[in-house]
Symmetry: C2
Subunit: 206 residues, 2 copies
Amino acid sequence: MLIQYSKILENCVNEVAKLPGIGKRSALRIVLDLVKKDAGELTLLTDAIQKLHEELKICSVCYNLSDEAICSICADPKRDQTTICVVQDIRDVIAIENTQQYRGVYHVLGGVISPMDGIGPQQIRVQELVNRVSESKPVEVLLALPATPEGDTTNYYIYKSIKDWVSKITTLARGVGINEELEYTDPVTLSRSLLTRTDIEQTFIK
Amino acid sequence: MLIQYSKILENCVNEVAKLPGIGKRSALRIVLDLVKKDAGELTLLTDAIQKLHEELKICSVCYNLSDEAICSICADPKRDQTTICVVQDIRDVIAIENTQQYRGVYHVLGGVISPMDGIGPQQIRVQELVNRVSESKPVEVLLALPATPEGDTTNYYIYKSIKDWVSKITTLARGVGINEELEYTDPVTLSRSLLTRTDIEQTFIK
């Protein structure tokens, strides 16, 4: 892409093209759209980006992104502080919040154990979870990690590390997705859902 | 998308999602990527965006975007100032520059005549082109407008407006695209390319 005739334009296209999932062509489209906007609109965007660095914090309790030292989920008296949901990253907090089905609090690990990638328990926030659980003794810890070998390894490691302080350690149900045809379900998931079959009365919406 | 627990995050996602071609999910991905960057990298991006408003100008000769009052194409003594290529918008300047086959200068109309959209000759820079052509009397004006009815109408209107000052008025060749199978060429293009068939010697690369 030759935009040599304007360094300002070219530089902005290059910066925008560094964003994930944005190629040079989309970057140009975005920049030409920005050019048409007035100063106020551009400032709204650049201020919002700058605030990510200047004002966004990491919650000292659950390690979620937060506007305050303690995030609004941890600080919410209506949320059940005795149930801790352990997730890989912030994206998962957002996904679970979107279901509006969970009223407990979170613990963001920042990854899962993956020896292939050089990530051991020390590289993620397992010790922080152990400290939190041993101090607060929650009723339940829900391990909502990815359904991958790395997720399973992490589940087992965490289970061993916290089982002395909490009696109820659960994990997300694995099985056939809602609206999924059995014909297209992968055989591993299907076998697992056969082995962990559920009493039909539990599936009736009350 | 519920990111109610952080207004800073939610606000930035909303601002990024206003960009063309970016949905809420991509916006979140971009913002979480920005969160990981350091202050310097964020400033590079926000400065580049702010400069679009603060420093980017419109060239007073050709109406292209420019870093200076006169753009580097119009100011380049190596470019042929006697050939003016008329284009719809800046995107087309970039597309033609990318071919590296054109050494003349440009005139950016800012649109094409489209009565359906309420765009007449007064809404685009036709008068500015007439003034420029009548003063500078170029050797050639190349009309590189879209091959649509609106482009054709604009071609004809410009042709009538400038024909007294310039003898050579050309338009981009219309025909079968390079590497295109005739079987898939639309019939209008194919008929046109039959009517305006070219001496084969012209197609040999010299």
